[in-house]
């Protein structure tokens, strides 16, 4: 799990690819060699080792099924008891949610809010409700998509198996970021809980503890799910990258300094490889689409929640900084900064991984357009794929509302700025009115 492991693996992987290139006239020999080697592949290792931590967190919280590992390239449905466990956890979650909503209605819940003004309380109410809504939705959608998730995992594993068999390359997942994000989420939430309890005065009842704790858990788990979705996207992205690299070997830039004979032997394996590439690309697209279907509702909800949180926190931060009374509440500032840090990081991660995967998926046809086939046969192979991908727009959409990529990040932040400008102006207007009233009463 060291950060360097990926680099080392990539180097080995590249050299293997090169070996394969030099041996390309005899692909079968190498194929059988890889086949011989495959039993040596770690059978006992759990699948998706890189995101193991995040998977176990999500499994424990009932968001993901506790699947059984059939072999190193297949996972099976969960056993009866595990299924029951997930079901039980989800039931507890829903019960807690109802309990929380109930206790928020009682005066006990009102203590939760660090109140500044009336509008701020309303803001916090909305934020809480949005959080509860997002998490409840996540739980529901996850419960419905159990089979879908297992299917996606199986498809990815099957693809890995095929790659290993054909090319002798074990694809790494490079998902170390998931652990960092998990730590970030945990740290932010713990910090927020700490500040919250620190600020509260008076007797704190156990109900309040439950409220605060459950709120943090809700936030944390939703965020973890988003990281999980990003990790899945990253995994798909790496597969796309592999396909693209494979294809790039045939582009004319690689063939510039070669003699005619070398060229011919080089292109010999193209029909076979292209078949593999097209099939893999199609399967990856299918996987990408099913990931999108699984997560998009949750992602829409999360984006909305995130947008709201970021806006209100920026606003609060600004109000604190420009406070005319000269008293800057450091608690609220830290609190706002923690929220901002968490949500900005998550938004960036999500949009970047979506953007990268979409980009890799779309670039395949561009690389293929660079493959130079002299004979009609090659040209026909190329044309078929290009024709297929003309109007095939690959996008990761948020439930069909909008496509998520880097520009989404830009749009969200420009919208936040606009709202901030309006809100701050209103606040200043309000302040000057307040001053006027104060002077009048004097």
């Amino acid at each position: 799990m060291s950060p360097n492991s990926w680099v080392i693996e990539m180097a080995a992987h590249k050299s293997r690819l090169q070996v394969r290139r030099s041996l390309s006239p005899h692909p079968h020999a190498l194929g059988s060699d890889a086949f011989v080697r495959s039993p040596h592949a770690p059978v006992g290792n759990p699948v998706f080792e890189d995101i193991g931590t995040i998977l176990s967190v999500l499994k424990a919280s009932g968001l993901l099924p506790i699947y059984e590992q059939v072999s190193s390239f297949e996972v099976g449905p969960p056993t009866r008891t595990n299924e029951f466990y997930s079901f039980f956890v989800r039931g507890v979650v829903h019960a807690l949610t109802i309990f929380n909503i109930y206790s928020l209605m009682t005066p006990n819940g009102a203590k939760l809010f660090i109140s500044l003004r009336e509008t701020d309380n309303v803001n916090q109410w909305i934020e809480l409700l949005l959080c509860i809504l997002t998490y409840t939705l996540t739980v529901f959608v996850c419960a419905r998509n159990t089979k879908c998730i297992i299917q996606i995992m199986n498809e990815i594993l099957k693809l890995d198996q095929e790659v290993l068999r054909q090319f002798g390359v074990a694809l790494s997942n490079n998902c170390n970021f998931s652990i960092k994000f998990l730590l970030l989420i945990a740290a932010c939430q713990a910090y927020i809980i700490f500040i919250r309890i620190h600020v509260l005065d008076g007797v704190i009842t156990p109900t309040t503890y439950i409220l605060i704790g459950f709120y943090a858990i809700q936030n944390g788990l939703t965020a973890t799910y988003i990281v999980f979705a990003s990790a899945l996207l990253r995994i798909v992205c790496i597969r796309f990258q592999f396909v693209n690299r494979l294809l790039n070997g045939y582009s004319y830039a690689q063939l510039l300094g070669k003699s005619r004979r070398q060229l011919q032997s080089h292109m010999e394996s193209f029909p076979e490889d292209s078949l593999f590439i097209y099939r893999t690309h199609n399967r990856l697209l299918r996987i990408y689409k099913s990931i999108n279907e699984c997560c998009s509702l949750i992602i829409v909800c999360f984006l909305g929640y995130s947008f709201y949180t970021v806006t209100t926190n920026w606003y609060n931060l600004f109000v604190q900084i420009t406070n005319n009374k000269g008293v800057i509440s450091s608690h609220i500032m830290q609190w706002c900064l923690a929220w901002l840090c968490l949500h900005t990081a998550l938004l960036t991660l999500l949009s970047r991984s979506c953007g990268a995967t979409t980009n890799e998926a779309n670039i395949t046809s561009q690389i293929l357009a660079r493959v130079y086939g002299k004979s009609k046969e090659f040209q026909n192979i190329i044309d078929k794929f290009l024709t297929k991908s003309i109007k095939q727009e690959v996008q990761f959409t948020a439930y069909g509302f909008f496509a998520i990529d880097n520009s989404t990040l830009f749009k969200i932040f420009s919208a936040v700025t606009t709202y901030l400008v309006i809100l701050i102006q209103f606040k200043q207007l309000e302040d000057s009115k307040l001053e006027e009233q104060l002077q009048e009463t004097n």
């Binding site: 420009t322 190329i382 200043q428 207007l429 000057s432």
Partner: protein, 531 residues
């Protein structure tokens, strides 16, 4: 072409003055002497140190400027709302941020920039081999025009503001000159980008023109073929009319048989024409402008009536090679465009942010100035509407030109497909159709879209969006400014009443009745302000 292809002249030859200026001002760190002798951009450690020194100097001077002029802002801070002040502070530093982004990016990219121009040179060579020439000479002219425009704008803004609006009796006011540095350096950097982009656009257009020339040539060839075949043998003419034109090549063959030696010599002269023109042109672009540059594939200005036309399009296998090469060059240019966009992505993002903010701010402060409100001292040019207009033209001109050029370049790259299809339609040959189909599928996948870090693409749509954004922000700001002003007026009128009331109260302060009198005065005087 059997002869050894002569070296095409590198694009960087045209950049002499610009490079010298950029080097002196500290926009680019590359080695000056190597550029002079070999026309290459190479890394240079001394240049890097010099550039970092210049950057530090500029930052120091600019901060000094802000500090020395912030005396006037003291009062402003007291009267103005915090938001306006914070925004004002941000706006003062955005210019500096933009300049620093440009310079730091140039430092990081100093190796890659040379590679980029080397790739362009290789592309030029390949284009030359395909007899598709690009005229570089207008680039130098373009650079000169841009430089002159920049200097005129900068000097005008600087001097008019200095004379009109700065108190030049103090020697410290000379620091005002520093305020022009960030925009000037930014503009120099953007001229590099704009001119290189323009060069790419020209290459796309050259490819398109080559394809179109193939078409016109083939059309001429066909008309000549039918017209000429008409006279000697009516039978063949009939057949050429009734039969589909893909037998044109057969006809050509027939004509060759009939025409014999005469056509061969004529064709030779045609070929020579094609060969002579590029050399004349290349001489031309080396500075000896004796002949007007002429494209080799342009139809002859004085077409001889009986001249034998030849068309490459009638020979599908021969033209396949050429079309394939053109397609590959097109892809390479697209890749260069992408790489160029990558090199300049952060500077462009910062320029767009700067343009948006400064445009909005300048207009808003112009409004403030017409209402006799105080504005940040660094935006004093907004006090004069005429200077404001010039500033706006200068800033928006920079942004819009870049966006427009990016848009045009990606349009030109997309046009190649159309030109290619024209070839297919004109030739009307099954074999050629297949080639065209294959290549146009490939061309479809060569995409060059210019974007700022992937956040937004640089095209007309974005320009529309940005102008919409500026308008709505202005409306919001002005509305709130109005409301705040009204509120302030109300408070002030209240305060002035209070003051007079206080005076009256002090004057009539005797005995116990004073307070009641005071109350009376206040209430009576307060009434008008409460209407």
């Amino acid at each position: 072409m059997s002869q050894v292809t002569p070296m095409v002249q590198p694009l960087l030859l045209q950049f002499q003055q610009l490079f010298f200026l950029s080097k002196v001002v500290g926009v680019l760190p590359q080695d000056l002497t190597k550029f002079r002798h070999k026309n290459v951009l190479e890394k240079s450690r001394n240049g890097m140190i010099y550039m970092l020194g210049m950057l530090a100097l500029y930052v120091g001077l600019y901060n000094l400027l802000i500090y020395s002029f912030s005396e006037e802002d003291r009062t402003l801070k007291a009267t103005q709302s915090t938001l306006t002040f914070v925004i004002g502070l941000f706006l003062t530093y955005i210019g500096l941020i933009m300049m620093a982004t440009d310079q730091v990016t140039a430092l990081f990219n100093q190796g890659k920039l040379g590679e980029l121009y080397e790739r362009i040179r290789v592309v030029d060579e390949r284009l030359y081999r395909e007899q598709c020439l690009v005229n570089n000479s207008c680039i130098a002219k373009r650079i000169r025009i841009m430089l002159v425009m920049t200097i005129i704008f900068e000097l005008f803004i600087l001097l008019t503001t200095y004379i009109e609006l700065v108190d030049y009796t103090q020697w410290l006011s000379l620091l005002w000159m520093v305020s022009a540095i960030p925009t000037f350096i930014n503009t120099l950097d953007k001229i590099w980008f704009a001119v290189s982009l323009f060069a790419l656009k020209e290459r796309f257009e050259a490819i398109n023109a080559t394809l179109e020339d193939l078409v016109t040539e083939h059309e001429k060839f066909q008309t000549w073929l039918t017209g000429d075949a008409d006279a000697p043998e009516p039978h063949t003419a009939d057949s050429s009319e009734t039969q589909p034109p893909q037998y044109d090549s057969n006809l050509e063959y027939l004509y060759k048989e009939l025409g014999g030696i005469d056509i061969g010599s004529l064709r030779g002269s045609g070929g020579k024409n094609n060969k002579v023109a590029p050399i004349a042109h290349s001489l031309n672009s080396f500075g000896e402008s004796i002949q007007t540059p002429r494209k080799p594939h342009q139809p002859n200005p004085n077409p001889m009536m009986n001249m034998a036309h030849e068309s490459e399009l009638s020979n599908a296998t021969k033209v396949e090679e050429k079309l394939n090469n053109l397609c590959q060059v097109h892809d390479e240019i697209c890749e260069i465009g992408k790489a160029m966009n990558g090199l300049w992505s952060y500077p462009i993002l910062s320029l767009m942010a700067y343009g948006f903010l400064i445009f909005t701010a300048q207009l808003y402060f112009l409004y403030c100035a017409t209402r006799a409100q105080s504005i940040p001292s660094l935006f004093r040019s907004a006090k004069n509407p005429f200077i404001t207009v010039i500033v706006l033209v200068y800033t928006s001109g920079k942004c819009i030109y870049l966006i427009y050029l990016s848009w045009k370049t990606s349009l030109a790259s997309k046009r190649t497909g159309i030109s290619l299809h024209k070839c297919g339609v004109v030739a009307d040959d099954n074999l050629l159709y297949e080639i065209v189909n294959h290549l146009s599928l490939k061309l479809l996948n060569h995409s060059v879209d210019f974007s700022a870090c992937g956040f937004f693409t640089l095209d007309m749509e974005t320009l529309y969006g940005v102008s919409g954004g500026i308008t709505s922000y202005l409306i919001i700001l002005i509305q709130f400014n109005l409301a705040a002003q009204q509120a302030k007026d109300a408070i002030q009128s209240f305060n002035s009443f209070n003051d007079t009331a206080g005076l009256v109260g002090a004057a009539t302060e005797f005995g116990n009745e004073s307070s009641t009198l005071y109350d009376l005065v206040t209430t009576t005087m307060m009434t008008p302000s409460n209407y």
